[in-house]
Symmetry: D2
Subunit: 478 residues, 4 copies
């Protein structure tokens, strides 16, 4: 059956032979690595809920491409309803995992490719769309997760790709062979790359003349020869390795740097190759979808933060304090703003020539601009409500040390009626929500930098109409 369970997902990951490094060492068993497993579990939640009685109708649908029931995370949206479902599923998952579930980026790539390969073929008579459909059906039938390999390392930001002293600082074609392309480069912030079966590579920006070798899109298995995943440092990362003081007891996030060290890409997996005029189009489509996705998952994460804030008010005996309740309202308002703009972007979507539905980009970016400021503000509010023990909380190991356990348990008791242990666990969750870097940096830089969102809004808005409204009311005849 096309819809995998959580167990089947885990089993499928065990088949992969990825090359991965972390903290100076090679990771031999990725799936059971405690630093990685929280991330795998977060993606696993998309499998778990899709096969749960309660949510299977929301998370699965029938594919018009395979005719089978599939997980929605493998389906480019074919209707307004599909667009809306994306946001609602993402909010649900945000509520469920309290961090990034890491499966949206692959879908955002599939969705962008389903539009652009079609348009590209129309213009150039190429055959990318057909190749893409084959890949899509493969993904659907296997219920695979893909990772979005988009962000290049970029070197000197003031130079175009081909102007860089080192030509590989944007991923590029270094050789064309009979059976495929050889590519070289590195993609960074590769959320969940080791939880993914496939890597989908898109260019990170619009390309200009001279950058033809960089205008490339393709997909390959995440354990392809020459692909190296380097898991970097995050705040709180060693907690998972030690297995203590984790805060979120089930889920986590990691985002490797993925190096493509002379990797062979078979021709049937190449979806763009040299068409510089579609490079910007492809990354813009991807980014717009991804910004819409965030409106769901990040509002869902604020819900968790709001719940944690409310619990801390209970545990601290401050549930009725007016200014804290006002801060809860601020948090809710921010969540609903992200969600509302993202929903509106979906309902106001439109059909593209290939049949895929695209969102309203202005409204999706409106949501993302709020995210870039409001998530940080929600964290600040959560800290304000919780109190100083967002830092400095003794370790669970201290609570287990007989020399001081009794004293700690005595002094960490909060409001009567709530066991001290629950309060400690919630404080630890708050620390995770407030101070973990892997997820929170994406509030700001996920889906492009804040400035990219602003430029998109400016570019997509009809400025001339606005000028005309003003002229007419001012009594200025044109």
């Amino acid at each position: 059956m096309a819809v995998k369970t959580y167990q089947e997902y885990i089993a499928s990951l065990r088949q992969l032979k990825s090359t991965a490094y972390m903290f100076g060492e090679k990771i031999e068993n990725v799936v059971d690595n405690p630093r990685i497993r929280g991330g795998i579990n977060a993606t696993g939640a998309t499998y778990e809920l899709a096969t749960s009685e309660k949510y299977k109708d929301l998370l699965t649908t029938i594919s018009p491409f395979t005719g089978e029931r599939i997980n929605r995370f493998t389906l480019p949206p074919q209707s307004i309803e599909d667009l809306v479902a994306r946001v609602k599923i993402n909010r649900l998952l945000g509520n469920y995992v309290g961090t990034c579930h890491q499966r949206c980026t692959g879908l955002d790539c599939l969705s962008a490719l389903s539009i652009v390969t079609y348009d590209l073929d129309k213009k150039y008579g190429t055959h990318y769309y057909h190749r893409f459909l084959d890949f899509l059906k493969y993904m659907q039938r296997n219920d695979f997760t893909a990772n979005a390999s988009v962000t290049d390392v970029k070197g000197d930001r003031s130079l175009n790709p081909h102007e860089q002293p080192d030509q590989d600082l944007y991923l590029r074609v270094v050789e064309r062979q009979k059976d495929g392309l050889i590519v070289r480069g590195a993609k960074v912030h590769q959320t969940g790359s080791l939880s993914s079966h496939e890597l989908i590579v898109l260019p990170t920006r619009a390309m200009a003349k001279g950058d033809e070798e960089y205008a490339i899109a393709f997909a390959i298995p995440s354990d392809t020869k020459g692909v190296i995943h380097v898991v970097g440092r995050n705040s709180l990362d060693t907690r998972e390795i030690e297995g203590v003081d984790c805060g979120n007891v089930r889920y986590s996030k990691y985002c490797p740097t993925v190096i493509y060290d002379n990797v062979l890409i078979p021709w049937e997996r190449v979806f763009m190759c040299g068409e510089i005029d579609f490079s910007g189009e492809l990354v813009n489509r991807f980014s717009a979808y991804h910004r819409q996705s965030h409106g769901g998952c990040k509002s869902g994460k604020i819900d968790v933060m709001t719940g944690a804030a409310l619990m801390m008010m209970d545990y601290n005996g401050s549930a009725k304090v007016t200014h804290l309740r006002e801060k809860v309202v601020d948090m809710i308002h921010k969540a609903e703003t992200l969600y509302g703009c993202s929903l509106a972007a979906s309902y106001e979507g439109r059909r593209e020539p290939s049949g895929t539905y695209f969102i309203n980009s202005i409204l999706a970016n409106a949501s993302k601009i709020h995210e870039g400021k409001d998530m940080a503000e929600c964290i600040r509010l959560l800290i304000d409500i919780t109190g100083g023990y967002v830092a400095d909380l003794p370790s669970d190991r201290d609570f287990q040390n007989p020399a001081i356990a009794g004293l700690l348990k005595k002094y960490f008791q909060g409001a009567a009626g709530f066991p001290m242990e629950k309060r400690i666990k919630m404080l630890r969750l708050v620390e995770k929500l407030a101070m973990e870097s892997a997820d929170s940096i994406s509030d700001i830089h996920g889906g492009g930098s804040p400035q990219a969102h602003r430029l998109t809004i400016l570019r997509e808005s009809d400025l001339n109409s606005r000028k005309n409204f003003a002229r007419r009311l001012a009594g200025i005849e044109e």
Copy 2:
């Protein structure tokens, strides 16, 4: 035909014999009074566009109650499509009149009554809904405009209605007669009351035991005996009276205090009378609809402000200045946020027992909370972009005074290629948009105070689910 033209609307207003005062004098000819006419014209735009080739399909529809084509401003929403149309029509009108068009409040009353009178009858076996439907059909067949008489003067805010030293500070029933009720009280900020054929009175708040005489809803013609409209002062109001330096050359706004000085309300126009448990429900429904309306018209007004800002950049020779362009992005972002949340509130609406569709109240209030801060910020940005001549611009009369006209024309020339006269007109429009009080105060207090919007969000949000999300992730067993 049920859909009136602008001319028919004006003609119908001329039939009214309203009692009105302004600036110490009685207004004898309301329709041609230059201070009032701009407001009438703004409402008139809803008639003009509904009978225009371009917009008639958007602004009119077939009534399920009369079977005739009607102006949408007389139809409580019967579908999600109707809810969405409200927002889009309001944005269009915001673009078209650059101020409040003043016809949404009546529709918001009709919509609220169409839900609550039905529910009320269900509970109490009363017959309000039938009466209301008769009134609704009357409004539709005549394409009448109604005014929302909601906000009472309130006296001492810390006291309930019946606790006030003067019992009339909330409108109330003072006598029940055979042919109807006698009511007394005063409603304030009555946007467009003299541009309306009917006044619809709703209670301004939830009522408690002892406040039965205040839990009242009804409709009467705006020129009913005993109804007195007192048009108050607004910034810039004398410009219209002098007919000079108006800024917005077509449209304006006014909001009288309307006194009900022992007015007889025929029984067939009474829609609630004493049912205190539905009083809060009625005003909450009205307010939620009204907050949704604002998401459309106010984003439309920001569009006009954005257009004015862009034109000023052209006229000043600062079109390419980066920080000004960033401020334009801020304005657009705020407009799209109001609009996006309001649209989402519509798409996420639901059918009520009477068949009327109600919006998602959390999302509508999310939009309104932004309005309460963001409109003021847009004004600030507009002033920043425009420059100091938002104040202190010489009068058109100075530009016509031969003694100095030549000098003024010389010195007010901006960037080459743009006639000085256009720049002056646009500066005047900016002054109107930035410094006019009748409309801008409603950004903050329209549809209830900012705190009311916040309390609504808190009341309507599911806090327990959020707590549960956090508990599960913290590993707290319930």
Copy 3:
């Protein structure tokens, strides 16, 4: 005696024969013109308090130039104490007049000239400083008010002065004669120009090669032949003319456009002429002083707004409402921020070669950046606290109209214990504070645009030290 009383000030203004226009007509009697008189009275407060028992010690001091007691508004600061006194006096006056007192700009010009003419002479061997001292002593002995004629009309903002199609869009020398210069141009937003005895002209910006004729500074009597004052429109201007509904019953503000139509400037009044390298220096010094001044007067105005908010809470019966009290805290915090940064700028001042003390420009601009956002926010908060009657309040003439006076008085009663009349007066003051344009536009554009304040901070800050701090802590060896 050198320190004039309010009456002597008024009498001295009556001696002037200024050429002034307003609303299409010539003003024959400036001093008694009701639109102008409120502004004159605001400046008059600087005379009134300087001769009052309570404040004379604060507002006067002994001049080191004349040896006589003088009004501090004629003394370039000669010590840290003098710098601090500026801020405290301005806050006091903000409290006292509730608007701009309009006398600081002249002092800011004197202060800037006292530094720059000295430095200029040092470099070029010119004799401007001596001329300036003569003028300064003249101002001190007569206790005259001066106006800062700085802001040019500017034409196309993207062009330098000499590049403008019309060469007069920045004020310039058109002819050099034996007895002086002939100048032409127009200065805008000339706060209190008709309440001033003298006009001090400074260049509005740094000048580049080719702009020599624009690098000019001088002083002349405000009624000099060829000087034309055109009083423009403000949002509430006709209230003063009608003498009704004024809000602030004593004080107001006006800011004419002042045209220099071939005006002769005697050589002894010329303080700079062609030295383009000191042009930017002069306007920067002026602006920095002026931004420091704002930190005093505008915090003083917020005090008035805060007081009005608190009174409205009393009158409305909402004195104990928590969220309103929080908004009052926000207002106070903003006032203290403006004040604190401006005070710090004074205490951290330093002696310049001429002996004049200059403020810390970074801290003065830090204050002004807050003003540019926070005054608008204070207005918004004031409106939020007050309620909807910031607009639409019936005219005092309606309250005097026997036909409706009784009804209005009945319905406008607020909390018991406060006469209705006081509530109406306070509501009117709130309208003035919130919606009057002459003063509030200066919150944003006074002392240069918000972007100018930001650029100043960036230019004056030591970025290299900050880089070095970071490098050392990162362990980067240089």
Copy 4:
């Protein structure tokens, strides 16, 4: 000599036999513990700079109590100059250590005690002030560091100390013995308690009748029998233990929970005992001083963040990008606001009866309110400017792993001209500045919660004067 060098400070700490636990284990060697040593070094910087050629004049002065040269961190301010020096020294130290230097709290306790013990004796005829002076001279002669033991664990926030089910949740006297008091309780967020020679205990709040046993102040050595330091978890704590990826290569922060488990306090070290009416006074004085301190050190930390942002712009090749430069301006503006308000609070200080100078509390709190929002915003801006590698940066150990070192070095090269290694180090510093919890939580909760700062401003402001200003201008006669 009274002024210790860094080496002497370290040697003196080695004399202490503190009882300390961390991560489930007892710490045997505190001084050389890598998690603690960064914090000790931060405090050590106050010794290092006080004995440096460049800064010794700023950081030392002659004590009026001992007649000897002392480190200013042992002197309650005796003049306005002393108050100002506090802020400037704190900014310098913020620049120097890039985190909390952890020595200000002890001085803030000394300063508060020097006022309150004097006033207390005046009222009650007690002899606390004399005892305090002896202690103060002891601190000065030994150049000791003290820790502020103020914040209790608090249990149920809605209950007063003596109402708590467990009577020890605020520190209290449990027995009075001949040679002193026995106390029990726990103080939390004890910044630098193991870097301090002495602990100074103050009550954490105003006390009411019934709370007499909680109104207690005293000082004891940090290694007194019964005192247990439990170092809790912070977001990046294991980096220091591993000795890798630390970011700030020299300094860090830690804040134990300190338990007082039946500790004997000799009478000569007791500075308050039961005088509930001075309890609030004591903590308010301490808090006000501490908020003033933050205005210096936190602006100094923003300087470091600004420097890091500027360096990242260089390394990324984005030094000229306009919107990034604007964000740098925002950061500078926030630093100067904290600093300006804190400086003004100092310059506007006043002499208390004991001779100690106290700051202007409104202005100190104005600074702190900004800190509570602006530090978080600066972090957000720093992340925005830096880019996504604030998270996910490979470990230094990966850069040393031969299997991938070459690839990583290739791909992490930024703008030409800057060695890759420097960029990595700076990225690591940014991670530390942005994501470290021990210091950043104090931005929000240090010196009391944000709401405490707001209530202080409201309580200290003269609301009646403000009301009178408004009444006078509205024309309301009293």
